[in-house]
């Protein structure tokens, strides 16, 4: 009976590429899939029990300002500030925020080239966070495989799946 109640009360919110979510609901998990060259930025405040996740695709919004206006979470330089601002509204305090990065894999483009998008995205995320006075607690980045990320809102723990491997971050 307890297991059934847990299954009913626990919920999973899934975000896609160019989306973000913030939650203060302890029974919730935030998840995202297909994190290839993209970066997933996860923030957690253990005191306020607020968790947030952003899945961005590209580093700079200057390449398409109109798209950034409509979909700010697509880009690092508009998505990361929006993630934090949204999390602040839920009670997250920056000085307590635990920030982790996942993704930034190098994926061969369909034309057969390598544009290093994963590395550029990772550098953009690190740059933004440093500029805003945030140090990164942990990372699972690089490689050539896409990842799936599950984040528990209750305790901020991350499970990262890649191929057949799973790790906690």
């Amino acid at each position: 009976m307890t297991d059934l109640l847990n299954a009913v009360t626990a919920s999973r919110r899934v975000i896609g590429i160019g989306e973000l979510a913030v939650s203060g609901s302890r029974s919730e998990t935030i998840a995202t899939h297909a994190v290839g060259s993209c970066i997933t930025v996860c923030v957690f405040d253990p005191v306020a029990a607020v968790a947030g996740m952003l899945h961005f695709l590209l580093p700079e919004s200057t390449i398409n300002p109109e798209r950034a206006d409509r979909f700010p979470a697509v880009f690092a330089d508009t998505g990361i500030p929006l993630l934090f601002q949204t999390a602040y509204h839920h009670g997250l305090v920056k000085q307590r925020a635990i920030v982790k990065l996942i993704g930034g894999a190098e994926m061969p483009q369909t034309t057969g080239g390598w544009f290093n998008t994963g590395r550029r995205n990772l550098l953009a995320a690190r740059n933004l966070l440093w500029r805003n006075g945030v140090l990164i607690a942990a990372e699972d980045v690089g490689g050539t495989d896409a990842r799936t990320v599950h984040m528990s809102v209750a305790d901020g723990r991350l499970r990262v799946f890649s191929g057949r491997t799973q790790k906690e971050l």
């Binding site: 690190r126 440093w130 006075g133 945030v134 140090l135 990164i136």
Partner: protein, 126 residues
């Protein structure tokens, strides 16, 4: 804990200070010096617990500073960290002989410096 940062680049000193403030270590005061001679003057007049020093500096370089610190019993418990561009094996071996706790090679990310500071701060408090 009182920290002394020694580097002839004021921008490098500012970056290190910023990381110190963002790192969860209890800091009473952060002192700065642009060369080894200034650093020695500060060490003589302040009770410093953690010394972070560059090597290549004018007037008195970090090697001479560390030799002076090693010779003086007042600074026997001073925790010492080198922050330098010189990553040669010869320098690293010499650093080990001067009781340097950590050898941090430039360039480094803020997070790497944070980890070094956390470890060094723990050592300084012991």
């Amino acid at each position: 804990m009182r920290i002394l940062i020694v580097d002839d680049s004021s921008m490098m000193r500012a970056m290190i200070k910023r990381v110190v403030k963002l790192t969860n270590v209890p800091v009473e005061e952060i002192l700065e010096a642009g060369d080894g001679a200034q650093a020695l003057t500060l060490l003589q007049s302040h009770d410093v617990h953690l010394l972070l020093t560059d090597i290549n500096m004018p007037v008195m370089d970090g090697a001479d500073l560390l030799r002076a610190v090693a010779k003086d019993d007042r600074w026997r418990t001073l925790t010492r960290v080198i922050i330098t561009t010189d990553g040669s094996t010869a320098r690293r071996e010499q650093a080990a002989e001067l009781a340097v706790r950590c050898y941090l090679q430039k360039p480094f990310s803020p997070e790497v410096l944070r980890d070094v500071l956390t470890d060094a701060a723990h050592a300084a408090r012991l």
